[in-house]
């Protein structure tokens, strides 16, 4: 079975600073990888996903993530954060051929400070 580990439960960062949110996964088969964001009092929405091809994936709101197969990682980055990026971020994995689709990590709360 696949699993996802988000190493940091909370990440505080000052506005306009860079940020990296870490995600590691385990799976014995090929995976698809996702980052979702949850703004306060809302449901989740997709930031970006890796299916195949280029290991650098660009998403909405200036976020990007890099798939590293040897390190089984899919870290999320943004070069300069804004107050409006304050939200909870979830990494998720799905496995080809699996009907149940996503397995989520425990989430990282990103707080951008003025």
């Amino acid at each position: 079975a696949q699993s996802v580990t988000q190493l940091d439960s909370q990440v505080p960062v000052f506005e306009e600073a860079p940020v990296e949110l870490r995600c590691n996964y385990s799976s014995s088969v090929s995976v698809y990888l996702f980052w979702y964001v949850q703004y306060p009092n809302q449901g989740l929405q997709l930031l970006l996903k890796y299916l195949s091809g280029s290991t650098l994936v660009k998403g909405i709101n200036g976020f990007e993530a890099e798939f590293n197969k040897s390190q089984t990682s899919f870290h999320l980055r943004k070069p300069s954060v804004h107050i409006s990026d304050t939200a909870e971020y979830f990494c998720a994995v799905s496995v080809a051929g699996s009907a149940r689709q996503l397995t989520f990590g425990s989430g990282t709360q990103l707080t951008v400070l003025p």
Binding site: V4, Q6, S9, Y32, F34, Y36, N41, Q42, G43, L44, Q45, L46, K49, L51, F90, S94, V95, A96, G97, S98, A99, R100, Q101, L102, T103, F104, G105, S106, G107
Partner: protein, 114 residues
């Protein structure tokens, strides 16, 4: 745009009550999902459905049941609510193409069981 709606944003119920959480999607998606979100645990899959009248157990189905009589509607039922079912419940839907597809989430129902 895909829209997933949930019948209530907040619910307060008493222990032992039967609770219905309703989810409706307007994009003719085959797949629908119910998750439970708890701090530090991320999202955990309760049940999912890939067709009308079809259902599959997720990771934590105990104490829950589901119903899908129409394609657009997926209901989560707590037969006898307990305090440990106090949580945020999120519904999602996705097209049928498989585990690479994006899931679209509703805004969530925050359930308090007293």
């Amino acid at each position: 745009d895909v829209k997933v709606t949930q019948s209530s944003r907040y619910l307060v119920k008493r222990t032992g009550e039967k609770v219905f959480l309703e989810c409706v999607q307007d994009m003719d998606h085959e797949n629908m999902f119910w998750y439970r979100q708890d701090p530090g645990l991320g999202l955990r899959l309760i049940y999912f459905s890939y067709d009308v009248k079809m259902k599959e157990k997720g990771d934590i189905p105990e104490g829950y049941s589901v119903s899908r009589e129409k394609k657009e509607r997926f209901s989560l039922i707590l037969e006898s609510a307990s305090t440990n079912q106090t949580s945020m419940y999120l519904c999602a839907s996705s097209p049928p193409q498989g585990p690479s597809e994006t899931q679209y989430f509703g805004p969530g129902t925050r359930l308090l069981v007293l």
